[in-house]
Every structure is written in structure tokens, then in C-alpha cells.
Symmetry: C2
Subunit: 210 residues, 2 copies
């Protein structure tokens, strides 16, 4: 055999080319030839590692969400060694807004995939149920923690607020994408609701009880 190449690595390389091309020209407009050219390989190679376009798209979605999850994790880590609940929630929500090229591409493509999954049964709709559910559960958990620690309004319904915050972040992100809203105004709206949910003492993490 020849070079004995790492298939998974090759697939990732091609998937990133797909993401770049789709981010520029739209998911609907990507063809296998263009992905191959962007990745610097031949059309045959793309066929070889992903037998069909459907599998390529499927893998691309997986790769996209993986990259985004890693990015959000990095943002959280960058938020400091031991951030308060509010800082964590805020970092989580703001990380999903399309404020730079990478998050812009993510938002655009994830939305494209989601819309596509409604009519094209081939693309599994499951990722668009499981991922949001996971995010919702994580956020609801954080809010409950904050409530238990006396840092958030104990009257609030944590799950409903989690759903609401994520829902707002998603549409605000799209508004930024289409140029209707500035990132700053989107952030202001989200902060407004965080101020409502979290008790104000949280902002400067007063060293009480610790």
C-alpha cells in the first residue's frame, strides 16, 4: 500500500474545506468539486473518503458542532479559573453570538443544516433536538446552582429562563448575521435578562461565605 494515510485526519481536512466553502457561498451552493479544490485534493479523493455527498454533508455537520463545542469550552476556560455562575452563563451565551468569522460561519451553517433537515429527511433531525436539549439542560443546571447559592432570583423558573435565554441568543445571532442588529445591541439585550435573573450582588463576587 502507499503512504498509509490517516483516514480520520484526511476526513477532517476535507470537512474543514467544506465548512470554509459553505461559509462563503452557502451550504446549498457547495459541490464536491469545489470542496476538493478548497482542500487541495482531487475530486476522486473526496469520493474516496466520503463515498457520497450526503455522507460528506453529514460528517461536515458533526465536525462543525465538534469544533464549536471545543470553542465554547475554550471560552469558558478563558473566563477565569473559578468564574461565578453569572460569568459562566454570560460566557456561554455570548460565545454563541456570531461576532467573529468563525462563530459567524458556525451560526450560518448550523442554521442552514437545521432548516435543511426539515425537508430533507436524509439529514438526521436528531442533532437538532439533542444538541439544543443538552444546552438547555446545562444552562438550567447552572441557573439552579446559582439559585441554590443565593445568587439568582429564587422565584425564577430555571428551565423556562434557560429556554428563553437560548432562544433569544439564537435569534439575536441570526439578526446579527443578516445585518439587522449590531453585536453590541444583542449583547445588551442578553445582559438585561441576566440582570433580571441574577441578583446584582453577583457581579462583583463579594467574598462572603468563602
Amino acid at each position: 500500500m502507499p503512504k498509509r494515510v490517516d483516514h480520520e485526519e484526511r476526513r477532517a481536512q476535507i470537512a474543514e474545506a467544506l465548512i470554509r466553502v459553505a461559509g462563503r457561498r452557502g451550504l446549498h451552493a457547495v459541490g464536491m468539486r469545489e470542496v476538493a479544490a478548497e482542500a487541495g485534493v482531487s475530486l476522486r479523493l473526496v469520493q474516496y473518503y466520503f463515498e457520497t455527498k450526503e455522507k460528506l454533508l453529514f460528517y461536515g455537520l458533526r465536525h462543525l458542532t465538534d469544533r464549536f463545542t471545543a470553542r465554547v469550552g475554550a471560552r469558558l476556560a478563558a473566563a477565569g479559573p473559578e468564574p461565578g455562575p453569572r460569568a459562566t452563563v454570560e460566557a456561554l451565551l455570548l460565545a454563541s453570538l456570531p461576532t467573529d468569522e468563525e462563530s459567524r460561519t458556525f451560526h450560518l451553517l448550523y442554521s442552514s443544516y437545521a432548516i435543511l433537515s426539515v425537508t430533507d429527511g436524509a439529514l438526521a433531525a436528531q442533532p437538532f433536538i439533542d444538541n439544543p436539549d443538552a444546552a438547555e439542560n446545562a444552562l438550567a443546571g447552572l441557573l439552579e446552582q446559582a439559585q441554590a447559592a443565593g445568587l439568582a432570583d429564587p422565584e425564577a423558573d430555571a428551565r423556562t429562563e434557560a429556554i428563553s435565554l437560548l432562544a433569544m441568543a439564537a435569534t439575536l445571532g441570526t439578526s446579527i448575521l443578516v445585518g439587522q442588529r449590531s453585536p453590541e445591541s444583542a449583547i445588551a439585550v442578553l445582559r438585561h435578562h441576566l440582570d433580571r435573573i441574577f441578583t446584582t450582588a453577583t457581579r462583583a463576587p463579594a467574598r462572603v461565605g468563602r
Copy 2:
């Protein structure tokens, strides 16, 4: 000349065929031949009334928003002869959720067009700025009215709340579309925020001051 047909009427007929087929198979998958077949006319006819596909899609978007605007108006009219501010706002928000076939199609296609406009410069992005702005202004106005009438929390920031409500309604709608959330739970989330903004006395429109 032959039949002397009404062009505008014909265009509307073809646009509705476009909307039907796009609602079934996705906006990206519609071709002029399929639209023609759905409308019961020949391919040449579609070419004749819309010279190019781009113009057909453009007209289709306009037709879609017009139909939806009319629908929301009808919903408002059906909400009673003199509804309170809360009933009006609630009707407005719930009318935009994809709960039946027509609103489902609208939500799907409007989202598809919006996402498409991000990468395809040909489709004007302006409708996706102007329409949301108008909705936001209308809703903010309603909330201010309610505040002035003492029916809503005077401390609330009407514009921020309007943006938030519309943002939530949009994402909740998409969640319904992809099957993540039930219409009932989406409605519950929206009602939760309406309860927060409006003073409870509003629900039964007490005949005070009138």
C-alpha cells in the same frame, strides 16, 4: 392578442405554487419545471411571467410576506372587537408560531430566504431588516401603550422586551419546526414572559376608567 390575462393574478398563482413546492421539498430544491407543474402551467409560462429564476424567487418572498401579514391581521381581527393590549400582543406572537400547515410553511420559507440572503447577494437582505424592524416597532408601541394605561410594568424597557419577545418567538418557532419542542411548551414560555411584563389585572379587562 389572446385571452388578455391579468399578469399580476397569474404571477400570484405561480408564486403560490412555488410556496407549496418549496414548503414540501425545501427552497433549495425547487426548480422552474416543478413550479410550473405544480401551478398547472407550462415551463414557458413561468419564464414568460418571471423572466428569470431569481425574479421568481424574489417575487415569491414578497408574496409570502404579504400573505403572512394578511394572516396576522385576520388573527388580530378574530381576537375580538376591542382586545386588551395583552390579548393583542399575545395574538401577535402566537400567530407567528408554526402551529398549522400555513404558518409552518411560512416559518420554514422565511427562514430559508433569510439564511439564503446572507450568502447570495442577489436576494436583497433589506426585507430581513425592514420587516423585523417594523414588527419590533409595532410591538414596542403596544407595550408602551399598555404601560401608559397602567396595564404593564412601568419599570420595563418596552423596546428591549419587544426585541426579546420576538426573538424568543422566532427561535421557539424553529424549535417546533425541527421537532424539538411542542407548540404547547413554546406557548407556555411566551405566556410566562407576558405574565411577567403585564400586570395580572389585565387578563380580565376590568372596566375601570371607561
